[in-house]
């Protein structure tokens, strides 16, 4: 059965392992993946623990559809208290790790304590061993995986690992699988490093029995057609997400020179067609037909000939737009380095661009940088700072602490130039012309986050009937909706709806690129209900799945509130309000976010959530979702 995978409790301090079944009742409440992780984190972490101490708990999980016949059911979720923000830490990645985890018999790992020396977990067909990792400690991401496969004598092993950055507890270190599948944002790699846990290796041959195989197969064919028939999927299959860079930059919707400008001029050298010359085919995650991962070899420079995958649109922004660079080799090399060090692309790019603006303004000097010229556009400095951050050398040691701690250490008004929410750097997109996007990053549970509630399709200018069809189910909505992304009307509902959409797929284990994130006609609650039934036998209506998402999002909010979050942190930094966009097309130029209108959107958003005016869930909301007795310690 697809539902008979277990939850394992692993105590690295004592070396004990205990496995238990996951009751169907809990599945119906939280499904799996990020949804059940929200429950587990709220129940297993005591308030106020040190995120880099042994009392933090690291959760690793598969969505409930992972490894089944459902298309793009590849996603791994990792959660802990974040060492970056102090709030809900969470990352989600594709690849092949969590399907293998399920084939090995497990859905959820609850990892507690701290090992006395570096270790890795070896999970295979129902067994979990804690093994010595001293031979791989100090290695990069890809060497670690290869060494573990060699040691265990099985090249089919999938390993989730940290790189040097995780070992050094860079507060935005990633967990990684294969070459580039990145569990980024909120520093889950640093939590692994703090536990002396270098890697989790999995291999399984335990079949997942599909509940209704013929129907599951037939229905998935329909879903695959739904996704692959769309133009956006076909384009994603040629170069991945970076195909949108040129058009987005042309409009003026990207942050450049930290947050001083909103367009990168003279950027022909980093246009997608230039990159195309260095790619040779696309790769895909488990069970996906879109193939959005470009494969490339670095064409010249210090890393000439090195193979890697990506870069995503985010890496172009991080290593070209934000630091004001225009060199393709730099983007490719930087992408390779953050992959192998195991660091968050967005955070690294954001921190370096911030440091460059501080250098420009004289807040940082040559003395602070160790003589490194941190001027905007200095490609060599970008590469050098990546090394220094990962190794925590000089200024890199300060930047490795993340936005708030670094600003505190540097002082001198440096915080004014940080582009963050809740202590996490924002994506390079310039959201001043797009209130829906701004609301999303202001209120997302893990900080300035474009993957928690962003109505990405708001920029498309879709016909209103299309919007009505999307946003009117499974819960009826008859309020305002507008195709104009500069408008404020109806955006609070769109953000609220997308938040449930993304939580649903993060709990099912399906990639967001197979959802409304990318295409207006992509699978939705209705399809997920059927996929769930055919593959697992679990009978849940679209509304039931919506309520799972509501429940899990509510617990993430409750976790954050318990850690001290206040309404004031559901907000943007002043530059969004006070500094108008200077470049781009006429529609974009001169835009700021209106404070009063954003307040109104937030009030509406709180209302949809069932929160009071301070952003705290009302008792009746918790009761309606069955959360009034949390933490209930049922699992």
């Amino acid at each position: 059965m697809a539902l008979n995978r277990k939850i394992a409790y692993i105590d690295l301090t004592t070396g004990t392992v205990e496995a238990k079944p996951i009751p169907v009742k809990m599945r119906k409440q939280f499904l799996g993946g990020r949804g059940l992780d929200a429950y587990l984190l709220y129940n297993h972490i005591k308030p106020g623990v040190d995120a880099l101490g042994p009392d933090n708990v690291l959760l690793v999980s598969a969505g409930v559809l992972v490894g089944t016949l459902a298309s793009a059911s590849s996603r791994t979720h990792v959660a802990a208290k974040s060492p970056l923000t102090g709030y809900f830490g969470s990352c989600n990645m594709g690849g092949f790790f969590s399907p293998e985890l399920r084939f090995a018999g497990f859905d959820h790992l609850v990892i507690k304590g701290k090992a006395a020396k570096p270790v890795y977990l070896w999970i295979h067909n129902g067994e979990i061993e804690i093994r010595d990792a001293s031979k791989v400690w100090g290695k990069g991401v890809r060497d670690t995986q290869e060494a573990i496969r060699e040691e265990l004598g099985d090249h089919e092993i999938k390993a989730m690992t940290i790189g040097i950055a995780g070992e050094n507890k860079v507060r935005y270190a990633n967990v990684m699988t294969e070459i580039k599948n990145s569990g980024g944002r909120t520093g889950m790699g640093a939590v692994m490093g703090s536990k002396n846990l270098k890697a989790i290796a999995v291999r399984g041959t335990m079949d997942i029995k599909i509940a209704h195989p013929a129907e599951a197969l037939e229905y998935d064919k329909k879903v695959i057609s739904q996704v692959t028939a769309a133009k956006v999927s076909q384009e994603m299959g040629k170069l991945g997400t970076l195909f949108i860079w040129g058009a987005t930059n042309s409009q003026g919707l990207v942050r450049t020179r930290n947050f001083q400008l909103n367009q990168l001029d003279e950027s022909d050298a980093i246009e997608p067609e230039e990159f195309e010359e260095h790619t040779f085919g696309m790769a895909a995650c488990y069970g996906c037909q879109v193939h959005c991962r470009a494969r490339y070899v670095i064409p010249d420079g210090e890393y000439k000939g090195v193979y890697d995958e990506g870069p995503e649109y985010t890496s172009i922004g991080a290593f070209a737009g934000e630091p004001g660079c225009r060199d393709l080799t730099t983007v490719l090399a930087a992408n390779h380095l953050v992959n192998d060090y195991g660091m968050d692309t967005l955070e690294v790019g954001g921190m370096i661009a911030w440091a460059m603006e501080l250098y420009e303004k004289g807040i940082l000097t040559d003395k602070d940088t160790g003589g490194l010229d941190l001027s905007f556009g200095n490609e060599a400095a970008v590469i050098e700072m990546i090394h220094r951050i990962a190794k925590r050398e000089g200024l890199g040691d300060i930047l490795a602490e993340g936005p708030l701690r670094a600003a505190e250490k540097i002082g001198k008004d440096s915080i004014k130039y940080q582009i963050h929410v809740k202590g996490m750097s924002a994506l390079h997109s310039d959201d001043r012309p797009a209130p829906a996007l701004a609301l999303g990053i202001a209120t997302a549970s893990r900080g300035a986050d474009h993957l928690r509630s962003r109505p990405a399709i708001d920029l498309y200018h879709l016909p209103e009937p299309v919007l009505r069809q999307i946003y009117g189910q499974p819960v009826p909505y008859e309020g305002p909706l507008t195709s104009d992304y500069t408008d404020y009307e109806g955006k609070s509902w769109q953000v609220f709806w997308q938040e449930q959409c993304y939580m649903a797929v993060d709990s099912l284990g399906i990639c967001k690129y197979h959802t409304i994130f990318l295409g207006p006609n992509f699978p939705n609650f209705e399809e997920w209900s059927k996929l769930l039934y055919y593959n697992t036998g679990l009978e849940m209506t679209p509304l039931d799945i919506w309520n799972v998402a509501r429940r899990a999002n509510m617990l993430e909010r409750m976790f954050n509130l318990r850690e001290g979050l206040t309404k004031q942190e559901d907000w943007l930094v002043d530059r969004y309000f006070d500094e108008p966009t200077k470049l781009g097309i006429p529609k974009i130029r001169g835009r700021v976010i209106d404070r009063d209108k954003l307040h109104k959107l937030i009030d509406e958003f709180y209302g949809f959530q069932g929160w009071d005016t301070k952003g705290v869930p009302k008792p009746e909301t918790l009761k309606a979702l069955g959360l009034e007795k949390e933490p209930s310690h049922q699992l």
Binding site: E235, F243, H461, L462, Y485
Partner: protein
């Protein structure tokens, strides 16, 4: 035959600030050709050098995507076209 084109607001500066333009034609391509004839500046936003639609542009006909037919898709009197840009924002 009269067909209405709803121009993406971000591109309206290229169509004399008109977000709605009336054209005539029996395919999407003919309608867009008329639009370009009246407002040449919009051409490079809509079309690649190959003459195909840009990879970040999609045309909806009566709230349904014209992809994969795109320029060849037939339209009739009273149809409504919408210019959509595939800019995901992250």
């Amino acid at each position: 035959m009269s067909v209405k084109i709803n121009v993406h607001p971000a591109l309206a500066h290229l169509t004399g600030d008109n977000e709605k333009v009336e054209v005539s034609g029996s395919t999407v391509g003919q309608c867009l050709d008329q639009l370009v004839a009246r407002f040449p500046a919009i051409k490079s936003w809509l079309f690649a050098k190959s003459g195909k639609l840009n990879n970040t542009v999609e045309i909806y006909v009566n709230s349904k995507s014209s992809y994969p037919e795109e320029l060849a898709m037939p339209v009739k009197d009273g149809d409504e076209l919408q210019i959509v840009t595939i800019i995901i924002g992250g």
